[in-house]
């Protein structure tokens, strides 16, 4: 394989293997006797997968500041959505 051919396949294939591995891990976690730790672990695994998809498949790791800001804005405002709602519920007596 020429160097160019490799670079087309390499990153996507490696990431695919990692993502499928994490998928298998999350199924294993669900089947394992881990009690109440299962949900946070599964969600954490999903979070890792999401970040990897964003960085590698969606190429945020190589994007300009402007593009990263746009992506970051989405995350930030979603965080506001959750934070302010959580503030409401936690402040209820």
């Amino acid at each position: 394989m020429s160097a160019r051919a490799e670079s087309v396949w390499r990153a996507p294939l490696i990431l695919w293997a990692v993502l499928v591995g994490l998928l298998a891990l999350s199924v294993a976690v669900t089947e394992a006797p881990l009690g109440s730790a299962k949900t946070p672990i599964s969600l954490a695994i999903a979070g890792v997968k999401a970040v990897l998809i964003a960085l590698v498949f969606m190429r945020l790791n190589r994007a300009s500041i402007l593009v990263r800001l746009a992506a970051g804005a989405g995350v930030l405002f979603t965080a506001f959505l959750f934070l302010l709602t959580a503030g409401d519920y936690l402040a209820r007596s």
């Binding site: 990153a11 695919w16 299962k38 969600l43 998809i53 590698v56 994007a63 402007l66 989405g74 959505l81």
Partner: protein, 208 residues
């Protein structure tokens, strides 16, 4: 490679044109994140308020079909990622094959979903008078299940239309000439995958 593509106003260079596409797409994707974020928020609220009764309802979803669908979407994302990189490297044939593989895997997702929905309806998991589970929290869980998977499936369908358009462009010899189309479609498809990746544990892995 990009220099053969048409340069639209108001951009002065292909680099700026491409940057504008990616920036504009991400602004749109940010709004999509907020759309699904709202559904995830409602899920979080009910999980917080209704506790075990809410989560236990999730045991009635089909984990294996959900896992299969996750694997299909992950692979389709990899396929379109390869297609995008191949297009940049000037390897049109690899790019076209990647587009077709993405399309087929995406269609596979919808087919599996159709079987899954049929199974769910057969088990009376649609919130109707004959709903299978007694607890009100279970009804809410499944309300969220149908809403979020339905909305996601609509997004998958829209994505498949865009990917089919890429295949049509390839047929007309336009894929190399309009690299922004591949870039934009690709980003949208990855987001559809990303949302499912977070939806999957929420709907299929909790409460077991």
């Amino acid at each position: 490679m990009a220099d053969s593509a048409p340069l639209h106003e108001p951009w002065e260079s292909h680099a700026r044109q491409r940057e504008a596409t990616v920036f504009g797409l991400w602004t749109f994707l940010a709004s999509e994140l907020l759309l699904f974020g709202g559904l995830f928020l409602v899920y979080a609220i009910h999980r917080w308020e209704d506790g075990p009764a809410f989560s236990k309802a999730a045991a009635h979803t089909d984990m294996w079909l959900g896992t299969l669908n996750t694997a299909l979407l992950l692979t389709s994302s990899a396929a379109i990622a390869v297609a995008g990189r191949a297009l940049e490297a000037g390897r049109a044939r690899t790019a076209v094959i990647g587009v077709w593989v993405t399309l087929l895997l995406g269609l596979g997702f919808l087919v599996v979903k159709a079987f899954e929905y049929r199974k769910d309806l057969h088990e009376h998991l649609w919130p109707a008078p004959d709903f299978a589970l007694a607890e009100p929290a279970a009804r809410i869980f499944f309300g969220l299940y149908w809403t979020s998977t339905g909305l996601h499936a609509l997004h998958v369908t829209a994505g498949l239309v865009l990917i089919a358009r890429l295949a049509w462009m390839a047929h007309r010899g336009l894929l190399m000439k309009r690299p922004e189309s591949m870039e934009a479609t690709s980003l949208y498809w990855h987001l559809v995958d990303l949302i499912w990746v977070v939806l999957y544990p929420c709907l299929y892995l909790v409460g077991r």
